[in-house]
């Protein structure tokens, strides 16, 4: 066999091998059923009821539903539902706290939302409950490479919301200030950081200058920052802003 013929034969072998490799990597690309599923509307399941069957309970359930709305008018409808819930006075707090306590502890999304609504009530009656939630220790971190639903993170989110709620009272409430000062020393970084942010913001409105200075001196240097909403989110670096959605963009 001539040198040229041998080379051609080798090249053919290599091409064939590469074809098989590509075929193998593709893992059955050709025989997947891409037919979309039928869209048959179903009545939404009411979900479990976590509130008592009372007027305040109904208002709390309505606020939970409104909180998750999106699209035009969502915020206005939510504020209306909050106002109605507030009109129940201290019972509004009691009903939310009872709902929080009865929710499955691993239902982090529901628990976080209930604390968010409790904080947004801005009722002084909510302060003891927010304090108790913020003070509850978070479980130890779960480390690893997998992208886990990490109870340490999820519980921290709940504490952060409660601390923000406490912060709304802190400018004029010594008890709220003391709670936040205590939480500054938390082992959980999100808890300590949020306590610092809440204290820094509240201290700006304190009339007692000596107290203001004493509090600010205890806040770590890296957290002495005024919230600036004008500093908005940034673009992902190097992102292609012309991207458009659609299946045709994909390599088959």
């Amino acid at each position: 066999m001539s040198e040229g013929a041998r080379h051609r034969r080798m090249a053919t072998c290599i091409r064939l091998a590469l074809l098989v490799a590509v075929f193998g990597s593709c893992q059955g690309c050709g025989h997947k059923d891409r037919t979309p599923p039928p869209a048959k509307p179903v009545a939404p399941a009411p979900g479990i009821s976590i509130f008592a069957d009372t007027p305040a309970g109904h208002d709390a359930a309505a606020a939970v539903q409104a909180a998750r709305k999106s699209g035009p008018g969502a915020e206005a409808a939510y504020q209306t539902s909050l106002q109605k819930l507030r009109s129940n006075g201290p019972e509004a707090v009691n009903i939310l706290v009872a709902g929080y306590r009865s929710t499955d502890p691993t239902d982090y999304g529901t628990r976080a939302l209930l604390v968010e609504i409790l904080a947004e009530l801005r009722q002084p009656d909510a302060l003891p409950a927010l304090t108790a939630i913020a003070r509850t220790p978070v479980p130890p971190p779960v480390r690893g490479r997998n992208h886990l639903l990490n109870p340490f993170v999820e519980e921290s989110v709940i504490r952060v919301i409660a601390i923000r709620g406490i912060g709304t009272f802190a400018a004029g409430d010594r008890q709220a200030q003391d709670t936040l000062l205590e939480l500054l020393g938390s082992n959980a970084a999100p808890v300590g950081e949020e306590a610092a942010r809440a204290l820094w913001t509240a201290s700006a409105q304190m009339e007692d200058r000596a107290r203001q200075e004493a509090i600010r001196a205890r806040i770590p240097a890296g957290l002495r920052v005024d919230p600036e909403r004008k500093l908005g989110p940034i673009a992902p670096r190097g992102a292609n802003r012309a991207l458009k959605a659609g299946p045709e963009k994909r390599t088959p």
Binding site: G71, E75, T106, G109, V157, V225, P227, P233
Partner: protein, 341 residues
Amino acid sequence: MKRAINIGLHLGLAFAIFGVVRWVSHYRYASNHHGGSEDYKEECQSEGCSGEEVSELYSSYQEECIGEGCSYEEVIELAGGSGSVNAMLNDFQSRGWQVQPCTFIPPQIPAGLNNAATGDNDFVGGWCSQPMVDTLWGDFHMSKENWDNGFGFEDACNVNLPLGRTFNSLALLRLFGTSMPAGSNDWLPWFYPFASNAIDELYGRCGNGQTSGVLATTFTGLQDNRTELYWGFFYGQDVPSRAGTIVHEARHADGGPDHNCSSCSAGSCDSNWGLFGSRTYEVLYVWWLRFAGGGSITSATSGLAQARANTVLATAFCRRPTRGEVWGSSVSNPSAFLSIP
């Protein structure tokens, strides 16, 4: 020259072997062929088996599915076909042995779902129509075999099932648009096309079967490129958090860097903000969501987004991101920690 040809030939052969092995392994799963190993159908349903034989089958199940990412294909193979899966699992349970509820066909979904509070009841109204289901399905290149057996293919608008809950998160991503309007500096509408272009294919899977378990994994490289979503994603997260997970995984699928350090407390750590890895993208999406204008999301959703973003900033980076890293050194107090206002 000869040496080059030799190397080329060996390389080609190696590729060929790799390719054949991968094809055969896929074929094995696709056809439920069990290659001579013992299975429940053959051992127990056809012949009647001893306790010892069931125990051996359970050992294999336990190895694959308890505490590990459990693959349907492996369970079906062990049972000897999809029709024997439930009989096998019921047999295990009757002997007092633990099984993963999500490995039944259909999977047993968690009781006591609060779909109003997770946002699942609200979003479904926006996409439960054939054109929108077709769009979401096509944009994420989904296929029937990865969403049937009770994962929702037969009942796509049922938000108790994994597919409906996945569609909810995709619909939230899509709520703000499918491309950035010309001249706009609002990046929120960019995340849907980013995710749909980056993710090769979405699979619904059991994972380790725990609602507080693994959320998702993205596979890239010389294999079937895909993003697998697990029980923790479907039943452990609310709708906005699920959308954040899709963005996180999309960054992996996009060729973003792997998690490259281990000293953070959240797990799946990125060394720093400037890596622009999955954690940075996750925070960016939630941050843009918080800033969504026009009253289109509630202050509750915005507040939850802020709490999550600040928690991820404090727990998922080995070096805590600073203001200077994000806005540049001319910002006030550049060495202070970045937090989402």
